[in-house]
Amino acid sequence: MTASDPAAAMTPQTYMQSLSRWRVLEIAFWLATLLPFWLFPTYLSLASQIAITALFALSLDLILGYAGIVSLGHAAFFGLGAYSAGIFTKFVWGEPFSGLLVAALVAGIVGFASSFIISRFRHLTLIMITLGLGLLLHEAANSMSWLTGGSDGLQGVSIKPVFGVFKFDLYGYTAYGYALGILFLCFLFTRRLINSPFGLALRGIRENFTRMPAIGADSRAHIRKVYTISAIIAGIAGGILAQTTETVALEVLSFERSADVLVMLVLGGAGRLYGGLIGAGVFMIARDQFSGIAPQYWYFWIGVLLVVVVMLLPNGILGGLSKLTARWRRK
């Protein structure tokens, strides 16, 4: 990766190893995510929603940034997870982790089923299909109001303490700890996945869909796998949202949620693992601050931010940063 590496030492094994090595910046990043507990205790509920959105963005990054599947309906899985976890908690059992398991399972099954369609198409067709899938689910949740609460939202979700000890409190200590913990676990899994030969094959598919089968990697099978995994992670993110807010509304399945997460990923930088996390943080904090200044016009500033980032930093904030450091190293 770096110019100082002697080319002779770069066998495929050492290349894979160098990818998965932990960098100082990464460790610093994760330590920094603990800071809100002490520095901003009154912002913890915002922090927990950022962690949830970051996890959702991570799931989209897996398919968009690595496998090149453009989706405008990813909220379908987020919403499925949210409703599954919410309904499970309401009618069956309030233990949080089992709720997440149910959310992951339901989202995963639907993700797997739809992956057979997804893997057959590319580009614009894909956008339309994912968009349609999202709209279908939104309408289904609206019409099944006996189960989902319809447009009034799912009520009566009451969640038990995490590990039977940590109650979800007013300040959001538990909510943030819980969301952050799950985010970190999912991140570890994603990071391992991306830095494996499977991850390399995905990047190959992104760059050239038809050529990959020629070197022995079946593009469609790979896409089915990664799409299902992405659906599971999105479902878990939705499940956490349902559990920490103890309500689910139709909005979890909305087009806006799919579009917003795409914006976050573009802001942060797609295909960079941390892009979604950074993008979610920047988007949500900017939104919180801008809407505090002028509640009517915050979307205007988000628009400005997006235009500026896309024009000046085509690969997102992280893309821009790595370009800067590369230039600085060369000198």
């Binding site: 507990f37 002490w38 205790p41 009154t42 912002y43 509920s45 915002l46 929603q49 609206n142 019409s143 109001s145 609460g149 319809g150 447009s151 009034d152 939202g153 009520q155 409190d169 007013l170 300040y171 959001g172 200590y173 949202l241 807010t245 103890e246 309500t247 689910v248 509304a249 139709l250 909005e251 806006e256 809407s291 505090g292 509640p295 009517q296 016009y297 915050w298 979307y299």
Partner: protein
């Protein structure tokens, strides 16, 4: 680490309590969809809040009233809940208010219940919201309150058979059930019902189906905004004559902006509603005149009235408690509160904390060349029928 967390939490709580006591202000956190497709309603309600404070001063019981506004951008309960949470823990508000949309009000009610904060729902109209927090009151209306009143009134006034057309979502279903139930128990009969897609701007197919049945009357519930005009046009195009087939509805159908778009097709529509700017009373005339002065000559609507009356409840409750702001004291002060509002006599039901008010039966007529909702009958002291049935 755990003990440190709790210790810092406890320290934060202590800090909150001490600053709250030292202040001579009462902070009201207002959560409304200031941006997005419901922004108009939020703006109007906000103007109602401002108007009340302008007319009655910003000090009550020796305390200054401070409003903190938060944008929830649409029906997003997780955001509404977080904003309510932040208002309580970060901004130290004493009262939560606003709430245009039901899911948001429901989510914030959890916070009101947990933090024991007084909550004033100024619009959201689903019946059960006020049952979620014992510290909440409502100053708008409940949907069953108006649609059941419409059903009962229709049956008592010679309309025995009705066809219902509602938007296919929660409030639409509520309107349908409560209208039909009230109609039946007053001796009427439902001859059919259709639920129309919420996002559908073309009503001609639905209206044709209604026309084929040739019912004595049609009850309509659709969300306000662009839809009333569309359905009005469909009625006119399909040749439904409001002289032969009575068209009944709730106030959203013939809101001022809807009337402008509908034109003469609106003539003869009968609606049940809580407030219209043409309501005849000295108080209302003053209210309308003051509102027009500050808002480019626009007329106030039910959003404005909800915000205005919500502030009245807050002011009166604070006067009763002598400026004490704990949720228990404020909600007890608000229970049973009776007053004369721009829309007429109102009361907070001491048992359910919901609104008790007069529902007006109005007909669209042309007065001085303009379409106007003319009140010609009323039902006094209407309680929320859903909560009355729960007991």
């Amino acid at each position: 680490m755990k003990t440190m967390l709790y210790a810092s939490a406890a320290a934060a709580v202590l800090a909150l309590v001490s600053t709250a006591q030292a202040q001579d202000t009462v902070k009201i956190g207002v959560i409304l969809p200031y941006s997005g497709q419901f922004a108009d309603g939020a703006k109007q309600m906000d103007a109602g809040i401002k108007l009340y404070m302008k007319m009655n001063g910003d000090t009550v019981a020796g305390k200054k009233i401070e409003i903190i506004r938060k944008d929830v951008a649409g029906p997003q309960p997780p955001v509404a809940k977080r904003l309510a949470q932040e208002l309580v823990v970060r901004d130290n508000v004493d009262i939560l208010a606003g709430f245009l949309l039901t899911p948001n009000a429901m989510a914030a009610a959890d916070i009101s219940a947990e933090a024991k904060k007084f909550m004033v729902i100024m619009n959201a109209a689903t019946s059960i919201i006020t049952t979620k927090s014992n510290y909440s009151v409502r100053t708008s209306h409940t949907l069953p309150q108006v649609s059941a009143t419409m059903g009962a009134w229709a049956a008592k006034n010679g309309v025995k058979k009705a066809y219902t057309m509602v938007s296919d979502y929660g409030p639409g279903h509520d309107a349908e059930t409560s209208f039909q139930a009230a109609l039946k128990s007053a001796g009427g009969e439902s001859v059919g019902a259709v639920r129309m897609a919420v996002a559908n701007p073309d009503f001609s197919a639905y209206v044709q189906r209604a026309k084929d049945l040739n019912p004595e009357s049609i009850f309509v519930f659709i969300p306000g905004g662009a839809q009333p005009a569309a359905i009005g046009k469909a009625f006119a195009e399909r040749g439904i004559d409001s002289a032969k087939t009575k068209i009944l509805g709730t106030g959203e159908l013939t809101d001022d902006s809807a009337l402008v778009n509908m034109g003469d097709t609106a003539l003869g529509i009968i609606t049940a509603w809580t407030y219209d700017h043409n309501h005849k009373s000295a108080l209302n005339e003053k209210f309308v005149a003051e509102y027009k002065k500050d808002n480019n000559g626009e007329n106030p609507n039910f959003f404005v009235a909800g915000g205005y009356d919500g502030m009245h409840v807050i002011y009166e409750a604070l006067k009763k408690t002598g400026g004490k702001t704990d949720g228990e004291a404020l909600v007890n002060a608000a229970k049973g509160l009776k007053w004369e509002a721009p829309r007429g006599p109102m009361m907070i039901d001491p048992e359910t904390r919901d609104i008790v008010q007069t529902i007006y039966i109005r007909k669209v007529e042309k007065v001085g060349g303009k379409l106007v909702n003319v009140e010609f009958d009323k039902v006094e002291n209407v309680k929320d029928p859903v909560k009355a049935a729960m007991k």
